[in-house]
Amino acid sequence: MSDISLRDVRKVYSGAEAPTIPGLSLEIVSGELCVLVGPSGCGKSTLLRMVAGLEEVSDGEIAIAGRRVNDLEPAERDISMVFQNYALYPHMTVFNNMAYGLKNRGMPKDEIRRRVDEAAVMLGLDGFLARRPRELSGGQRQRVAMGRAIVREPAAFLFDEPLSNLDAKLRVKTRVEIRDLQQRLRTTSIYVTHDQQEAMTLADKLVVMNAGQIEQIGTPIEVYERPASLFVAGFIGSPPMNLLPPSAVPSLAPASAPEHALIGIRPESMVPADDGPIALDVRVVERLGATSTIHGRLPGLESDVIASVPSTVPADPGRTMRFSSPGDGVHLFDGRTGRRLG
């Protein structure tokens, strides 16, 4: 078990005008699963590849288990990585795929056999060791990729969007398996994803990234309950947080709120109330079973306001519904800097 620390890490591609990562620091505690989440192009994969040693670090320092690894080859960093496309060796059997890294390190044959068998049982792959990757389903391939990472017993696992090639149902199932596996092995992990739901469910520590910089670090609940910026407020949570000018909902805006402030209310915090201050002209009602998502307009606003309510609440397009929001459901942001106020 070991921690990973990044200090003022920069990445500038030669020929690029702006740095991909202008300078970023992050501490990952031993045994923790840290999820980097952000939109595509935010630098999260680049960051992961720098930790893996697949991209050069332009400036700053990366340390794994207290050891500076900037100038070490990927093989010497004691990490293993699960790739988005799994990167299984197509001409090798499942067994050889998992054993390859161990063979390269000169491990004795019976030890290799023991470790691979153990991992195969853990992942439910014991009947498939003699097969080639092309004879496996997407989910099985994904598990072989996991197995290849596990058998090495490395200091850290790196996951680069490992679930994005699976269908929705399998993704949820595999997500749980990864969480379970990581909790059992307690191996420090960095997990990159663009899927905020995946990020919320997996993370011990959630790192929201935007344009090469960290917007917020915290536990998933902290990030959800107190988003540090407009970006985080819009990115984490589904459907996204409603962001309204104080003039649209004067009674909800604190007296101290500056003119350029924005009020954020999560759709889940919109509570139907006959005397509520928010009056929505309902346009569309999406019935999801347990809940319904109501899209409506506030007078004078261009974009929809979204409310998520229990499906028992009667709602029909064309009606006007009134909502209130409890005090702790109202977030206040500075519209100019994008930062949270208060």
């Binding site: 040693g53 990927p74 093989a75 790739f83 496309n85 197509p90 390859y100 390269n104 092309r134």
Partner: protein, 294 residues
């Protein structure tokens, strides 16, 4: 599912469009090939006054002829050397070009140029370079203490035509190897790097096995090339000499017909060559159909 049929309004248009190709095939392939088949069972005197049907006697005589068998082995040896050396050099170049990022297209373009040179020209070029009297390479070899003379030494002559033939083919092989290497996902080599394999090990255990379909395809193409397209090189440089040391099969076909005036035997040799090329092509097609092997 039924495929949609495209109908031309002009009935003659499709025929007119394929006609040139058919005419060319008929005139330059079907006709000569059928002539060769026909001639291979005939015997004609040197003046063309008398022709008689001899059945398979021409073939029987060929297989009993030590000169023909010698030429056969010369050809096998020659094509093995051409295919082997040109593929090896091309693979090394492709691996290096695969790593280059800047100016990659320039390198690629320059490396492809030799393929545009006609075989006879390539032969003459190397003949000049290796000429014992005026050739710069022969001069350089002499400085190194080697007395190069492809007029007298059979090995020298063979080396020269192998180099001339392989040089052109390197460009072709290079293109296929480079495309093959670039088709291997980068994440595979990255995964191997994390798995502790150095550059050489990555090449041998990951890239080379994944290139094997390309390797097989190129072996067939290069052998066909060495068997059939190298006439110009031999004719322009060694003319089969010294002695019979560089008489490859295609060259012997030509020489027996136009210098030896033994049309029957020459035609029989053509038929054998035709059988070889058909066999090679069949192997290649069968393999390509099952290409996605690994």
């Amino acid at each position: 599912m039924r495929t949609k049929k495209v109908t031309f309004r002009h009935r003659w248009l499709p025929y007119a469009l394929v006609a040139p190709q058919i005419v060319i095939t008929l005139v330059f392939f079907i006709w000569p090939a059928s002539q060769a088949l026909y001639q291979s069972v005939l015997r004609q005197d040197a003046f063309g006054l008398r022709t008689e049907f001899v059945g398979l006697a021409n073939f029987a005589r060929l297989f009993a002829d030590p000169l023909y068998l010698e030429s056969f082995f010369t050809t096998v040896w020659f094509s093995a050397l051409v295919a082997g050396s040109s593929m090896l050099v091309a693979l090394v170049l492709a691996v290096m070009a695969d790593r280059v990022i800047r100016q990659a297209t320039t390198y690629r373009t320059l490396l492809i140029w030799p393929y545009a040179v006609a075989p006879a020209i390539a032969g003459v070029l190397w003949w000049f370079l290796f000429n014992p009297t005026i050739g710069i390479l022969a001069y350089a070899l002499e400085a190194l203490g080697y007395d190069w003379n492809h007029y007298q030494d059979g090995t020298d002559a063979m080396t020269m035509i192998v180099i001339a033939a392989a040089w052109r083919q390197v460009a072709y092989n290079f293109l296929f190897f480079l495309a093959g290497l670039q088709a291997i996902p980068k994440s595979l080599t990255e995964a191997a790097a994390i798995d502790g394999a150095g550059p050489v090990k990555r090449f041998v255990t990951i890239q080379l096995p994944l290139l094997s379909p390309t390797v097989f395809f190129l072996i067939v193409v290069n052998v066909v090339y060495a068997f059939f397209e190298t006439f110009g090189i031999v004719h322009a440089t060694t003319a089969g000499g010294p002695g019979n040391d560089t008489v490859i099969l295609v060259y012997k076909v030509w020489r027996d017909a136009f210098e030896g005036l033994n049309l029957g035997s020459s035609a029989a040799q053509s038929v054998i060559l035709m059988a070889i090329v058909i066999a090679l092509t069949a192997i290649q097609f069968r393999y390509i159909e099952r290409r996605v092997e690994y």
